[in-house]
Amino acid sequence: MNYRRLFLIGVPYVWLLALFLVPFIIVLKISLSDIALAIPPYTPTLHLSDGWEGLKDFFSKLDFDNFLFLKSDPLYWKAYVSSLQIAILSTTITLLVGYPIAYGMARAPEEWRATLMMLVILPFWTSFLIRVYSWMGILGKEGFLNSALMWLGIVDEPLTILNTNTAVYIGIVYTYLPFMILPIYAALEKLDVSLLEAAEDLGCTRTTAFWLVTLPLSRPGIVAGCFLVFIPVIGEFVIPSLLGGSNTLMIGKILFEEFSSNRDWPVASAVAVLLLLIVVVPIVLFQRSQERQAEAQK
């Protein structure tokens, strides 16, 4: 009995330890190392055969130089700030687009809801990369959007959308919309319609009933949706590198460039560690809000 429980708890712990904590410690260690023309491209490396002296020597060579470097070069903190900005703005847009969709789904006739849900999830059946690439086809100078606009006579010259921040926002909102819709839909679907009738009965108009009843009761869904979008968007790499331009500054892109183009693993690791710290704050906030929610429902 006790062994079974230990086993059950042990499996996820070992999994997290092996696939999250250990790699993170390795990344943390690399972030404290120095760049070197070697394989692997950093120094020092740990040689356990040297015994105690080797270990002492190894730790003495670790330092925070890379983090100080991040501070000295404005490129990095600008990228962090820009990532945060893009994440906040795109989360807001996703919320504004997603909420009405979720609301419409929750208010749709019962027999339609499963189909509508299916339509929201359907894009996941196609590879994420292919979907982002197809946006290049839509947004490009000779893309579908511009051809359509020109054909309709709305614009005379093709709009420059691709390789700008606008394209990044479009890509992010498109990609992450289901993550916003689903939790909000779940919250709205649970909402008892008689609460709205009660609000109306007590003197609310439809609009005030929405602000006073529907919105506060869908808050858990809004919070969950926002975090599900915000956290991955901060570190987003594929969308800004495919749809964004040279002046789209996002930390995911910087990370990739440091890693593969510059082959500066220590600086790249430092960037990653700092990113994790930035993301951990909202994750903790999210967890706490979830806990409070669970507490309230007891």
């Binding site: 008689s194 609460l195 009660a198 609000a199 109306e200 009965d201 007590l202 003197g203 609310c204 005030t208």
Partner: protein, 380 residues
């Protein structure tokens, strides 16, 4: 000095021609697609009444309530509230409040804020709102729980909060949709009396929807028995019970023995019903005129049927049978007596003696007797 004789003031505005009803349904029909929920219904409800709509589920009672609240519009006919047609008035503008079956308390607001919700939508100044909410909390004895959220109080307390919230705006009319359905039996009984008390204190007109006949009988000044979107009978609980106007009502309210037969007039409002070969006809009462030979149903309540070992003298009706079954309910026993015709008649007797000293047991020959006023003759 001669004191004027004290006559109890009977509350019966429906019998007073000068009284104006607060609610009037005039030939109201409501259809949902092909389904007719309310069928050409006319009804008057008076001020300060505690009016019960009683019927099986799907009979249209909830639809009537929702039309009064404004959530449904009548397909045909008009509904007047205080003499004015309310069809163009939106639910949030009607002087009508509703207590929902599920209570519909706002889960994100405290008890206090729930009760204040409606008041805050009105133009009432802040300090008056506070006073009114406190008054409502006192009325429903929920003062101690003002700061709690709905999920932190019991079902009975939630019910009281829902009542307080719907009464807070002092509506002209309070609608109660199966208000006690979620409570257990004991609590339901206590709450019924509380409801009556609160109704009397506030003087509000209450319309209650219920499928529980006992509840309707207990709380209401008048009961409307409904079926298939029509009113079958509208009368005081006593009148509904003692003089039902049709088999449906007699059968729906309480227990009843029903015997079919042919009527023959024997007195002013007295008839004889011959119901089986070789059996003496049953004498009963009917206020309406019935042609001789009409097929009728003779109805008599089990508690009005006396059971005895010997044939009772001067009983209007007496039939013999054997005890087929005995249902012991503690305070009373119901005897199922089989007549020679095979028909089962139920008779109730109080258990004034201990069970061991019971007069009758299974397979005993017994006489059942009842008066000609206890027997009601129904034509439908």
């Amino acid at each position: 000095m001669a004191q004027p004789a004290k006559t109890p003031v009977v509350f019966a505005p429906w019998e007073d021609e000068t009284q104006k009803p607060v609610i009037q349904f005039k030939n109201v029909t409501k259809r949902f697609g092909n389904f007719t929920a309310i069928d050409n219904l006319s009804l008057d409800i008076f001020e300060r009444e505690f009016f019960a709509l009683l019927g099986p589920s799907g009979c249209g009672k909830t639809t009537i309530m929702r039309m009064l609240a404004g959530f449904e519009a009548a397909t045909e006919g008009t509904i007047l509230l205080g003499g004015k047609d309310i069809s163009p008035v939106a639910p949030n503008k009607r002087p009508v409040n509703m207590m929902f079956q599920s209570y519909a308390l706002f889960p994100h607001l405290s008890v206090w804020d729930n009760i204040a919700f409606g008041l805050r939508r009105s133009s009432m100044p802040k300090d008056e709102i506070g006073a009114r909410v406190d008054e409502m909390l006192r009325l429903t004895r929920m003062e101690k729980f003002a700061k709690r959220k709905p999920h932190q109080i019991s079902g009975g307390q939630r019910q009281r909060v829902a009542l307080a919230r719907s009464l807070a705006k002092a509506p002209k009319l309070l609608l109660l949709d199966e208000p006690l359905g979620a409570l257990d039996k004991k609590l339901r009984h206590d709450t019924q009396f509380e409801l009556m008390d609160i109704q009397e204190k506030t003087g509000t007109t209450f319309v209650i929807v219920t499928h529980d006949q006992e509840e309707a009988m207990t709380v209401a000044s008048r009961v409307a028995v409904m079926d298939h979107g029509k009113l079958i009978q509208v009368a005081t609980p006593a009148a509904i019970y003692e003089t039902p106007n049709c088999v449906y009502v007699a059968d729906f309210i309480g227990e009843v023995n029903l015997i079919e037969g042919n009527a023959k007039k024997v007195g002013a409002d007295k008839y004889e019903v011959s119901w089986a070969e070789g059996q003496t006809a049953l004498r009963g009462t009917c206020p309406r005129e019935i042609a001789d030979g009409t097929r009728v149903t003779y109805a008599v309540r089990p508690e009005k049927v006396a059971i005895s070992a010997d044939k009772p003298k001067d009983a209007a009706n007496a039939v013999q049978g054997t005890v087929h079954d005995i249902a012991y309910l503690g305070n009373i026993s119901t005897y199922h007596v089989m007549l020679p015709t095979g028909q089962i008649i139920k008779a109730q007797a109080s258990n004034t003696r201990r069970l061991a000293n019971r007069h009758f047991t299974w397979e005993d020959k017994v006489w059942l007797s009842f008066t000609d006023t206890a027997g009601v003759i129904l034509t439908e």
